[in-house]
Amino acid sequence: MNKILAILTIILLTGCSIGGEKKIKIFSVEKPREKLNYPMPTPLQMEEIFWHIVTSENAEEVFKKLEEAGIDPVLFGITDKDFQVLARNFAQIRQKLQETNNLLQEYKKYYEGENNGKM
């Protein structure tokens, strides 16, 4: 009887610790960085302009037509050489825009995958 009592007392005292404490497992899970996901810039919509060519011969006629159309008879002019420069400047601005847009697409494609690189 005493033996049984002793065994029961031991079990009672040791309780749940018979199997030992459970070990805590620490593990790390790599979580990828959130995607920036900016939408691609909205394409530009250019407004149309009209170029008037004014020479010493047609100047009067051009101004007369402007007045008839209810437009102020005033023109902001550039020479033929400056017109070439302006055309070249615009071409360079357009190329820079295209290059920057292209770089943006390539970065998106490289870091966010093929589908995100498309516009």
Binding site: M40, P41, T42, P43, L44, Q45, M46, E47, E48, I49, F50, W51, H52, I53, T55, E57, N58, T79, D80, K81, F83, Q84, A87, R88, F90, A91, Q92, I93, R94, Q95, L97, Q98, E99, N101, N102, L103, E106, K109, Y110, M119
Partner: protein, 157 residues
Amino acid sequence: MFTQIKMVMTLIMVMGLAGAGVYVMKLRADNATLKANQVKLETAITEQTKVLEQQKKDFDAIMESNKKLNVLINTFKKDLQDLDKRFTKKNRDIGKLAIKRTEAIERIVNKGGKNAARCIELASGAEHTEEELKATLKSQINPECPALANPNFVHYE
């Protein structure tokens, strides 16, 4: 005397057996460690192979991207040369031409301006129209930026 020898012998036997037991246990533990190491090494090799494959893919993607950008920059140079040519081809003087044929040059300049504006729209990411995509002839293309506006146009003389 005989009893003492018997005791020593028994002790030696017991110790021998215990030693053998301990040695076997050590071998088992070593074996388990080696197996675990083997698994870790195999995992490491698989991971390294994956890393190398990814590096190769990244490198290929970088090369491809560089190639595309170089092609683009060369196209830019050609576009600017073509633009200059349009103004100066065969000693052309656009000023003198505009005096002689004012209306025709005005039409050409306005058409060019419209085309150039469309080029800017496309460069900023606008979608191509069906017409632009289908253009394959010089008369159908946007001469201000054919490479950008008409991707299916192949340059010919």
